[in-house]
């Protein structure tokens, strides 16, 4: 799946995450800001990369502003952002 436009999902409410995807030449660049970075930073990174892989996204700029979202919430936000940013196929 190819990201062709800037798209986002989620909010900055507590226990949610705001995820933005943008097109990129190659590879995934991932920027994470989280209120629980010290406790879950690595887990968040892994979750985002997993979802991107599952969606078949090979190139994207992804920005996550996490306000303590559970993993299921984070997965949903990333997946939705990807679907909103993909090209018509």
């Amino acid at each position: 799946m190819k990201i062709v436009k800037v798209a986002s999902a989620g909010t900055l409410e507590s226990s949610d995450a705001f995820v933005e995807v943008a097109p990129a030449g190659e590879g995934v660049s991932l920027e994470i800001d989280s209120v629980v970075y010290a406790q879950f930073g690595e887990a968040i990174r892994q979750t985002v990369l997993d979802v991107l892989k599952d969606c078949g996204v090979e190139a994207a700029c992804v920005r996550v502003a996490d306000r303590g979202a559970l993993e299921c919430v984070l997965r949903a936000r990333v997946e939705t952002a990807v679907l909103r940013g993909k090209g018509e196929e």
Binding site: V36, A38, Q39, F40, G41, A43, G68, L70
Partner: protein, 468 residues
């Protein structure tokens, strides 16, 4: 004898404050307080250094204090509660000497016993007469009870009353009497009324909060303590208030006449008094205008000093007669130790206040908290800071079950018989982490930035700096 002086500057000069002395403040004006900042500015302007500030609590409105710390005007700090704004700077290591945290009962106790002598106490008084009789019940800055200021007034070497409502002598309905007061200063404003009393906190509508509150009320009902003569304290948080609402319904339905409500008093406690749930309210601090009005107008609503509220080595304190207290927590560990001093990253953002005092005194001390907040589990293996020791906590109520301290088998049996959803605390921790994931442990700094002194005056725990 002339006690009335024109300015704070003049009062400061007359008190003979010198480098290295201790000055004290009370926090009934809360985040609206102007007095601490006004006084500290005069002390700094007088060129004083190395002062210790002993405040019953510090709020974000007191952020100018940080500048006095940076400049060496203030080098010692003691408080029962420090809000996040000032707390963060403490955690970053702004002070060389560790801050001393006490409890609302421990602070006046240590003042009375001479462990923390005060050179000059500054009393923010919403109404006062020229000889220093003063009250919090009247005036544009009315805050209700002056409970935390009594020990300061009684035991400080010098006492200055600062008011923005000077009335002719004598103020008949005084709280603190003239025989303790050296000087009186009238100023334009001692505080911002908007910050003094918060708007009434609403009862939570969050379904998770309502489940917890309903459990909390049922635990109290099942404990056997809810009968005529019942006494109760609760916090001002949304879920605690909801618990009080459920409790009120049970009390009215069963026609139970309680004896007293205690604490920081909110409109909901006033409502319970007026509905006949309690005979009396014992009030060390008013949280809203309904509480202020009630304290002023209803003789069954009594102002009490912090000494009477909770001091551990007085002849007795009200907490010793307390049946049930509902308290909060930022963390609780599997030994039931509770942290209310630091946030999940280790930054100071609170303090015991009356937490440890009421937990120690009450027959049933209950923590009410969600299983997790913003992905962070409430139950941990070991709390970052022991604010209240687990031996004083009886039960934890969450939406995912009720965990009883194993020390309280009797309570466990009663709750089981009532059909309440019990869970072992370790099991609750695992259940929560299946939802949130297991948090990586926080790395703490290597320097002690605060000492947590238990209500009896012993060092209970220390708080380390946060590495950024």
């Amino acid at each position: 004898m002339m006690k009335l002086v024109k300015t704070i500057k003049e009062a400061v000069a007359l008190c003979g404050i010198k480098d290295g002395m201790t000055v004290s403040f009370h926090h009934h004006l809360r985040n609206g307080d102007f007095v601490l900042n006004m006084v500290m500015e005069e002390l700094a302007a007088a060129g004083l250094r190395d002062l210790t500030v002993n405040a019953s609590s510090l709020f974000d409105a007191h952020a100018p204090l940080l500048e006095h710390i940076e400049k060496g005007v203030v080098t010692g700090l003691s408080a029962d509660y420090i809000a996040a704004g000032v707390g963060r700077a403490i955690s970053q290591g702004i002070m060389e000497k560790p801050v001393q945290f006490r409890t609302h009962g421990g602070r006046p106790n240590d003042i009375r016993l001479g462990r923390t002598p005060i050179d000059v106490a500054f009393i923010a008084a919403p109404t006062a007469d020229p000889m220093g009789n003063c009250s919090g019940k009247y005036g544009k800055s009315a805050c209700g009870s002056l409970g935390y200021a009594f020990a300061d007034a009684m035991f400080a070497k010098k006492v200055v009353v600062i008011t923005d409502n000077l009335v002719p002598y004598p103020l008949a309905d005084f709280s603190i009497s003239e025989n303790f007061v050296d000087y009186v200063v009238a100023v334009d404003a001692i505080g911002d009324p908007k910050g003094i009393v918060s708007g009434t906190t609403r009862i939570t509508r969050d379904p998770v909060g309502l489940v917890m509150a309903s459990h909390a009320a049922r635990v109290i009902e099942a404990s056997g303590l809810l009968k005529d003569g019942f006494s109760f304290q609760t916090g001002a948080g949304g879920a605690s208030l909801a618990a009080a609402k459920f409790l009120k319904e049970i009390m009215l339905k069963k026609n139970i006449k309680g004896s007293f409500g205690l604490g920081g008093i909110t409109a909901y406690m006033v409502d319970m008094l007026n509905a006949g749930c309690f005979e009396t309210l014992m009030d060390v601090q008013c949280f809203d205008l309904d509480a202020v009005r009630s304290l002023r107008d209803n003789p069954r609503h009594r102002e009490i000093s912090a000494l009477q509220y909770a001091a551990p080595t007085g002849r007795s304190a009200v907490v010793d007669s307390l049946d049930v207290v509902i308290l909060g927590a930022t963390q609780i560990d599997t030994d039931f130790n509770v942290n209310v001093h630091t946030d999940s990253n280790g930054y100071i953002m609170g303090g015991s206040g009356g937490h440890s005092d009421t937990a120690a005194g009450a027959k049933l001390s209950m923590i009410i908290a969600p299983m997790f907040r913003a992905r962070l589990p409430i139950v941990t293996d070991k709390v970052t800071c022991i604010s209240t020791p687990g031996k004083d906590i009886d039960v934890l109520v969450t939406q995912g079950g009720i965990a009883v301290n194993p020390r309280r088998q009797d309570l466990q049996e009663k709750l089981r018989a009532a059909g309440l959803p019990l869970v072992e605390i370790g099991e609750l921790k695992e259940k929560t982490e299946r939802i949130t994931g297991t948090p990586a442990p926080c790395t703490k700094g290597d320097r002690v930035v605060a000492e947590v002194i238990g209500r009896n005056g012993d060092l209970q725990d220390v708080i380390y700096n946060v590495k950024e």
